[in-house]
């Protein structure tokens, strides 16, 4: 109010109007940006399908190599090829597949005979996604928290513990960690307490079955995110404006949240995008170790047994999740650092 009076402008003049317009035009720019990126997913998907199609057919071996556990006769292979449309020229198979996919028909699985890929995925994905979302939440909270604390108390005991933990998380692979958990919390605890306290080692329900797989799945990404947050927070701590913020006598909470964390999150958010995509589409290792009927394990068996429709469908699912996650990351950049421009 006072400002407009000094400038001699009538109330409701040029300045306030521009202020009213600014957020909505930024909102419009954002909407436009998101729409354009969603449209871009069509060519991205096309190329992903094309490349996967080519790789599948270039890779040595055929879907029928292991079928039935023995070598099939040439006639049977011929019949199977006709049955699944593999006798046609590859470009015809490709176009037919595109046509079917655009009608949400993902074809029949080769390895699970008589079942459609669509129904397999719809049944299995909820398990994988539950696991992935829980692990992701753990990663965000524990990873960012540990990283910020370690950076703020650089070279303290807390920092060394966080650093040691993240080194352990990265240099011991998932399957070993999972097995260690099973031995300690499943078997050892069971024996120790006479069966009173232990965690279930197999089977899958939405209760304490989830604890060990989620922690196992989250360990490596948490370690990575913690180190990434620590490194980028250390970079920010040395900036002049952080020194100024401390010098102004702001509270630690305010300096950390507004001046440090907001600026150090760009690389963290970048890394979290693909991590999310990876987690909700399944980790083969964790699903295998803990016997979880998710899509992660079926994807690897699909690749190994050349179950073409299954490979393509999981790849399409993954690429959509990746594209959306990266889009969310790009939008978040603008909120974290308003100087970043949407292009």
């Amino acid at each position: 109010m006072a400002n407009t009076a000094i400038g001699g402008r009538p109330a409701g003049g040029a300045l306030p109007v521009r202020r009213l317009l600014a957020p909505s035009s930024r909102g419009a720019a954002l909407t436009f940006f998101v729409l354009r990126r969603v449209l871009w997913m069509v060519p991205v998907l096309f190329f992903v399908i094309l490349i996967t199609f080519l790789l599948m057919h270039l890779a040595p071996g055929s879907p029928w190599d292991r079928a039935g556990g023995r070598q099939l006769s040439a006639t049977i292979v011929q019949n199977l090829n006709v049955r699944y449309g593999l006798d046609k020229p590859i470009w015809q198979q490709f176009l037919l597949y595109l046509w079917n996919v655009s009608h949400f028909d993902f074809g029949l699985s080769y390895q699970y005979q008589g079942r459609s890929v669509g129904s397999l995925l719809v049944n299995a994905w909820p398990y994988t996604a539950t696991l992935g979302v829980l692990a992701f939440s753990l990663i965000v909270v524990a990873g960012v928290g540990l990283g910020v604390i370690a950076a703020l108390r650089q070279n303290s005991r807390v920092d060394y513990v966080a650093m040691g933990f993240s080194t352990f998380g990265a240099s011991v692979p998932n399957f070993v960690v999972g097995m260690l958990f099973i031995i300690v919390f499943g078997v050892f605890m069971y024996k120790l307490t006479g069966g009173a306290y232990s965690l279930p080692v197999s089977g899958f329900g939405l209760d304490d079955h989830l604890i060990m797989p989620v922690v196992t799945l989250a360990l490596l990404p948490t370690a990575f995110i913690a180190r990434l947050t620590r490194a980028s927070t250390l970079d920010i701590l040395r900036q002049d404006y952080v020194r100024t913020a401390w010098a102004k006598g702001l509270t630690e909470r305010l300096v950390v949240l507004k001046h440090i964390l907001k600026n150090s999150l760009i690389p963290v958010v970048t890394a979290l995008g693909p991590t999310f995509a990876f987690l909700v589409t399944g980790s083969v290792i964790v699903e295998t170790v803990f016997v979880i009927p998710g899509i992660g394990s079926s994807f690897v068996t699909a690749v190994l047994s050349r179950d073409y429709p299954m490979i393509l469908a999981t790849t399409i699912l993954f690429s959509i999740v990746v594209a959306v996650a990266n889009l969310v990351v790009d939008v978040l950049y603008v909120f974290i650092d308003p100087r970043v421009r949407l292009t």
Binding site: W40, P43, V44, F47, V48, I51, T52, L55, M56, L58, A59, P60, T167, F168, A170, S171, V172, P173, F175, V176, M179, L180, I183, A223, F224, R227, L228, R230, A231, S232, L234, D235, R238, I266, P267, V269, T270, A271, G273, P274, F299, V300, V303, L304, I311, T314, T315, F318, S319, V322, A323, N326, V329, Y333, I336, D337, R339, V340, R341, T343
Partner: protein, 303 residues
């Protein structure tokens, strides 16, 4: 009328300005002063020497044959004869660990070089150029990220054969995407900062802005990504061996040793512990070196 200007007492001026040294001399000087970084560098040199000299050490009898099987003492714990015990075929773990450094260090380190060259360049161009270039490059990385890398590796290795070269080419070519996105995100934010703007205002070339401002300021997260990339590449190599398209047995590598040890984790937890420890030491040394390098390159800490 001119005022008499007193002659400046030249002798009394404090000439104690710091000695002018070049950027890299200064970087090296500051790097040497960082004890953790030097310790990391020493460990890496020892590991590399071990990888190079493993054959010699075996010839002079310090370590045993890494592929000779002693079937009477499989999965033994540490003993005088086998300092770190034996694996499931009775092979000497110490010797396999030392020979394993050859493949695991080569894969772990060289793959990072591929990441930097491909991922760093693409991320830098996309972030710095922005606009259409950024969009096209990032959609390209979306595609690259999405198609199944396992298939890609299978195709590559089946075409070129399971040699060390094709394995690390496969791992490197598949996984540069994360670094590209990370660098691009950093650059998008850094290039709008005041100091880059002033550099542009005084007419610095793009090349100089990238080298002097963007690279040093984006370095921290990049170093973390690369140090985490080392164990990841070592494990990927092992996964490929497991599928039969990696280094063929009985050649030892740390990743394969972990997988072999995992099969017998109940009988002898040692066999997982030692290679995991070697990988942890390697990774820790490189992250110390990386942190030291970043501090040494930080212009705000220049002397």
């Amino acid at each position: 009328m001119a005022l008499p200007i007193p002659a400046a007492p030249v002798e009394e001026v404090d000439w104690d300005v710091p000695e002018q040294v070049g950027l890299w001399t200064d970087v090296w000087r500051r790097f040497r002063r960082n004890r953790l970084a030097v310790a990391g560098a020493v460990v890496v040199v020892i590991l590399l020497a071990d990888a190079l000299l493993a054959g010699l050490l075996q010839q002079i009898g310090l370590i045993q044959d890494p592929i000779k099987q002693h079937v009477e003492i499989t999965l033994a714990g540490p003993s005088a004869q086998h300092l770190l015990g034996t694996d499931y075929l009775g092979r000497d773990t110490l010797s396999r660990l030392m020979y394993g450094a050859r493949i695991s260090l080569t894969i772990g380190i060289l793959v990072q070089a591929i990441y930097v060259v491909i991922g760093g360049t693409i991320g830098m161009i996309a972030g710095y150029a922005g606009g259409r270039v950024d969009n096209l490059l990032m959609r390209f990385t979306d595609i690259w990220y999405a198609f199944p890398d396992l298939l890609f590796v299978l195709v590559l290795v089946s075409v070129f054969g399971p040699s060390l070269l094709s394995i690390f080419a496969a791992i490197g070519i598949v996984n540069w995407v994360n670094l590209a996105r990370l660098v691009r995100g950093q650059v998008l934010s850094i290039k709008e900062k005041e100091y880059v703007e002033s550099a542009r205002a005084v007419g610095s070339s793009h090349f100089k802005i990238v080298l002097r401002h963007l690279v040093p300021n984006a370095l921290g997260p990049v170093i973390v990504t690369l140090t985490f990339g080392i164990p990841a590449a070592i494990f990927l190599e092992a996964a490929l061996s497991y599928l039969g398209v990696g280094i063929q047995p009985p050649t030892p590598s740390w990743g394969v040793m972990i997988q072999d040890g995992y099969q017998a984790i109940y009988a002898s937890p040692w066999q997982v512990t030692f290679p995991a420890f070697a990988i942890a030491i390697t990774m820790l040394s490189f992250s110390f070196i990386g942190d030291g390098l970043r501090d040494a390159l930080d212009p705000r800490m220049r002397q």
